[in-house]
């Protein structure tokens, strides 16, 4: 969260010679980050980021306290000016008022009834500051509550005493389905975990700590007020405010556990302002229900502990003065042992010695700590991880140099895409709180997204060669899904282009593979699909994407795709091929044309079975039902004669003919 405070307001709590720019710079380095300084109507306004653990700094008082600790480290004068607040004189007889918190829902409840002289617009200085800090100016009564919140840091509330006819306020949990109308005239149906204030006649008159209700807030006719502060349960405040989306400044502060002691400061300051501004007079005593007083904290640590964590020797005197300026009470024993009392406004944040390290180091200045690389240590990277990253980059680079563009798609896809590819939603893990239907179902294949990429790019590039390496998420019977890296390649040019890149990829990784007709990929046509394997190991499939799926995406052109199990690829890959010395003896190349029976792979197998001198086969041509192959023969021990080679070719010919019979 961010708060805005003005420089002149800050000076009411801080005596300093630092300029706004110096305050911005030094506070940002050592404490709250002052993100901006704006000049508005002659006022300097600080816009300050407040981290969730430092709600004690979300006020003029809080920032002044930080400044008083930080600025002196930069040679600037800075003294915190604490305001002396008087307890008001109260009448001997009170108007009827009863506040009941039987179940101890709140840690503290404060209230006082006051008679106000008039409801009018707030005096200029209040209205102006309320506006500059980002709130609307309503009237003197409401403005005071907001003014006190920004100045002291604890939310406050004001009721119209006469609109609570019973003069009773009972804190209780809401009933399921109970309805309220907040002061901004919005209706909410409550839940049992919400906390409300009941007027004793079953009427809800407040959503405490978050927002008042329309039926009890002050109006222009208000004559008597109930000034009210409660320290609510932060968790419950957060849940209720999140559930209904009521994000007021009050709820934002209350959910971060502001100091219970601070509530009393805010109470006295509020009473003071009502008296000054609205000529208010107390009609009741100060009601303060506070069964368990908040305790200060105690942390034992040492100078050497701080030094070891920081990596610098900070003088003991500096440590003590930093902590003292931040309202900690420090007792030093044995020359370096520190017994530190944590003030109530820091008890929820500062609980362990490491928290003390932070307080000391940040004010000492992180910039003052030197930069020293830790001593080296050797940690073994698991081989599978080393290979995974090595080959990912290797394969990506290879494909890039072959003219392929790397795509990264979202890990989840739309129900429409699943449907286009004939998938059932229930087979997929899905995001239950997805912000967009486009990214709902966790992918189990990269092909649908890549085909979609081709569709989306249709207008920009006629020929597309794309690839992606990403995880797929396969749901398991129990536990987390199986995350598996897939490599998918798509082209919209030709089957030959696809096969060429798949073949080249395996060759580049030095994996000897065979390709068999058919495969198990459900996105590819059964009749135009091949499986890449090596022995029993299956690396994946490639082929033509089922035209019906493409048509579902309004893609008329054929798309060809390969999907390979990347981790299998990586495990089979070799950095160097298996070494086999080249033959010293003559190679004889002979061609043969014959009738094509069976697949090319089968024919090749037959040829190798038939001839022991055959070392390679290449396709030369096909014509009608014939095929022309080019065979290379050699002998590992001597020069083969042409005659001998012809004999080998004859063996192959016989081998091929035997299939016909």
């Amino acid at each position: 969260m961010n708060i805005k405070i003005t420089h002149s307001w800050l000076l009411e709590y801080l005596e300093t010679d630092a300029t706004p720019l110096e305050i911005q710079k030094y506070l940002s380095l050592c404490g709250p980050s002052v993100e901006r300084i704006e000049e508005v109507n002659g006022e300097t306004v600080y816009d300050i980021e407040i981290t969730s653990n430092r709600i004690d700094t979300a006020s003029v008082l809080g920032i002044a306290r930080e400044a008083a600790a930080i600025l002196p480290m930069f040679g600037k004068k800075a003294i915190l000016k604490k305001r002396l607040l008087k307890t008001p004189e109260v009448p001997s007889s009170s108007v009827p008022i009863e506040i009941i918190d039987e179940k101890g829902i709140c840690r503290r409840v404060l209230g006082i009834v006051m008679e106000v002289y008039e409801v009018s617009s707030a005096p200029d200085y209040i209205a102006k500051r309320v506006l500059l800090t980002g709130t609307r100016s309503i009237n003197n009564l409401v403005d005071i509550t907001n003014y006190v919140m920004t100045e002291i840091g604890h939310p406050t509330h004001v009721f119209d005493y006469d609109r609570i006819a019973t003069h009773r306020l009972i804190l209780r949990h809401a009933k399921k389905g109970e309805e309220i109308i907040t002061l901004d005239e919005k209706k909410y149906t409550l839940d049992e975990s919400d906390i409300v204030i009941d007027d004793g006649a079953g009427r809800v008159i407040d959503l405490p700590g978050i927002m008042g209700t329309a039926n009890s807030v002050v109006t222009n006719e208000t004559k008597r007020i109930l000034f009210f502060i409660e320290s609510n349960d932060p968790v419950s405040i957060r849940r209720t405010s999140m559930r209904y989306g009521i994000r007021t400044m009050a709820s934002t502060i209350n959910e971060k556990n502001p100091d219970v002691e601070l509530a009393y400061t805010a109470f006295l300051r509020g009473i003071e302002l009502f008296t000054e501004v609205a000529a208010a007079k107390p009609l009741s005593p100060l009601i303060d229900i506070y069964p368990n007083k908040v305790k200060t904290g105690l942390i034992n640590t040492s100078k050497s502990f701080i030094d070891t964590k920081v990596g610098a020797a900070i003088p003991l005197k500096t440590i003590v003065s930093i902590l003292t300026n931040l309202d900690f009470i420090v007792e030093v024993t044995n020359g370096e042992e520190l017994s530190i009392t944590v003030p109530t406004h820091r008890v929820s944040d500062v609980t362990i010695p490491e928290d003390i390290v932070e307080e000391v180091a940040r004010v000492y200045g992180y910039f003052a700590i030197s930069s020293v690389l830790q001593r080296p240590a050797y940690v073994i990277q698991p081989k599978d991880k080393e290979n995974l990253f090595h080959y990912q980059y290797e394969v990506k680079s290879f494909l890039k140099h072959k003219g392929y563009a790397e795509v990264m798609n979202y890990s989840a896809c739309s129900p429409m895409l699943l449907q286009a590819f004939g998938q059932k939603q229930e087979d997929y893990l899905h995001i239950t709180n997805s912000i967009s239907e486009d990214i709902k179902f966790l992918r189990q294949s990269l092909i649908p997204s890549l085909v979609q990429n081709i569709k989306q790019n249709e207008g920009f590039s006629p020929h597309m060669h794309l690839f992606e390496i990403a995880k797929t998420y396969i749901p398991q019977e129990k536990g987390l899904p199986q995350e598996e890296f897939m490599l998918s390649i798509t082209v919209n040019t030709s089957f030959d282009d696809l096969k060429k890149i798949v073949t080249a990829l395996f060759a580049n990784l030095n994996i000897a593979t065979e390709i068999v007709q058919g495969g198990a990929n459900e996105f590819l046509l059964a009749s135009v699909q091949g499986t890449v394997k090596s022995g029993n190991e299956i690396f994946g499939s490639f082929g033509q994407v089922t035209p019906q799926f493409c048509r579902n995406l309004e893609l008329d052109k054929s798309v060809f795709a390969a999907e390979l199990y990347f981790e299998q690829l990586m495990m089979a890959a070799r950095k160097m091929p298996i070494y086999k010395a080249f033959s010293q003896y003559a190679h004889i190349t002979l061609d043969l044309t014959f009738k094509k029976i069976g697949s090319y792979t089968q024919i090749k197998e037959r040829a190798f079975v038939a001839s022991e001198k055959l070392i390679s086969v290449a396709l030369k041509d096909t014509y009608k039902d014939t095929i022309t192959l080019r065979f290379v023969f050699t002998d590992p021990a001597k020069n083969l004669t042409e005659q001998e080679a012809l004999e080998q070719l004859e063996k192959i010919k016989i081998g091929m003919e035997s299939v016909k019979k």
Binding site: L29, A405, S436, Q456
Partner: protein, 354 residues
């Protein structure tokens, strides 16, 4: 036979030749198997021994002369022909296939290399994980308000009694305790974990999926000074030698103390001033990128004792630091790739830029 006459004839014939081919033809007619030199040699058979000697000498010297002249002429003609060769080298070549690596891949490779050099191993941890690793082990119990800061993406997979709900990891920090567990709670730990992260934000500056790189260092005596040293090393390696780094106080549940890291602006070099357009500009404008001379890099801190405990490591013996930075962000800061919405749309016009 008169050698001088013959020589003159050769010279005249060669002088007429304007192309290398014509000279080659002459070469054949003199020096070929049925050439004039061999004719002359045949003719001397009928001469007396004494005459043979003289004639043989003459013919040989004539042969050398012819060979030399032909060679000379050829060289001259070759040179002339070479001088005629001319190509407009500014004409475009025929197109070669040009592919591309995704900008994330390029950055991941660079970052991994930088951390490798100081002994950090790259790891990879689940992108779908339990709330336990995404929050509980990171000092964020169920009721903690900080969990709302990570508006989490929940999955339909059934929850686990101990581990909580299944989520898409909102940060790479789920790898912290997983790495401690992998190493059987025994430091040293030097990890760089790079992965996809997910948060339900989708606007001009956020995509619901993004990448983070997470550094984790746990050992005996690890200090804030060590964290600063490492950040300084990384920032100088990645952004350039003149880049400065600073820490500002911040708050994260899983680190104590926590910091935000800034680096000197890569555009204005930390001066906070826009480049001077003209010398006459009286007051120099502020740098549009950083406004203050500094750019926010990301969050970091000293590993919270509760995180070490969750990983079975004794915080009294060991300490550590951790950081998590966005890769899209460092790409923006270093290379000016400012519209991150293009990263994950597969738009070929974007991909072709890399």
């Amino acid at each position: 036979m008169d050698i001088l006459v013959l020589q003159k004839t050769v010279r005249e014939e060669l002088a007429k030749a304007t192309a290398v081919q014509a000279v080659s033809d002459l070469e054949l007619s003199y020096l070929g198997r049925n050439g004039k030199i061999n004719e002359l040699l045949k003719d001397i058979k009928s001469l007396s021994l004494e005459q043979k000697k003289t004639a043989g000498k003459d013919i040989n010297s004539f042969k050398s002369f012819v060979a030399e002249e032909i060679n000379k002429t050829k060289n001259i003609l070759y040179l002339k022909e070479d001088q005629k060769i001319s190509v407009d080298v500014t004409l475009p070549s025929s197109e070669d296939a040009s592919g591309s690596l995704h900008p994330i891949t390029i950055a991941v490779n660079e970052i991994t290399g930088i951390f490798n050099k100081i002994g950090f191993i790259r790891m990879s941890y689940p992108e779908v994980d339990w709330e336990y690793y995404a929050f509980e082990t990171l000092n964020m119990p169920v009721t903690h308000a900080a969990r709302d800061d990570f508006e989490t993406t929940f999955l339909s997979g059934s929850a686990d009694k101990k581990m909580g709900k299944m989520v898409l990891t909102p940060h790479t920090s789920n790898g912290q305790v997983r790495e401690m567990e992998r190493l059987k709670s025994t430091p040293p730990i030097r990890m760089i974990n790079i992965g996809k992260c997910y948060r339900p934000n989708w606007d001009a500056t956020h995509t619901p999926m993004f990448h983070q790189f997470e550094g984790l260092c746990v050992d005996k005596g690890i200090t804030i000074a060590n964290l600063k040293g490492t950040l300084d090393y990384f920032v100088k390696s990645y952004f350039g030698e003149n880049t400065e780094v600073r820490l500002r106080p911040h708050h994260f549940q899983f680190t104590e103390p926590s910091f935000e890291v800034d680096i000197t602006c890569t555009v204005c070099k930390g001066t906070a001033l826009a480049p001077l357009a003209t010398a006459s500009v009286a007051r120099q404008a502020k740098c549009k990128i950083c406004k203050s001379g500094w750019l926010e890099l990301g969050g970091t801190g000293m590993v919270h004792p509760n995180v070490l405990k969750a990983g079975g490591i004794d915080p009294l013996v060991y300490s550590g630091w951790a950081f998590g930075f966005g890769i899209e962000r460092v790409n923006m800061m270093k290379y000016g790739i400012d519209d991150i919405r293009n990263y994950y749309t597969g738009d070929i016009r974007f991909l072709n830029l890399f």
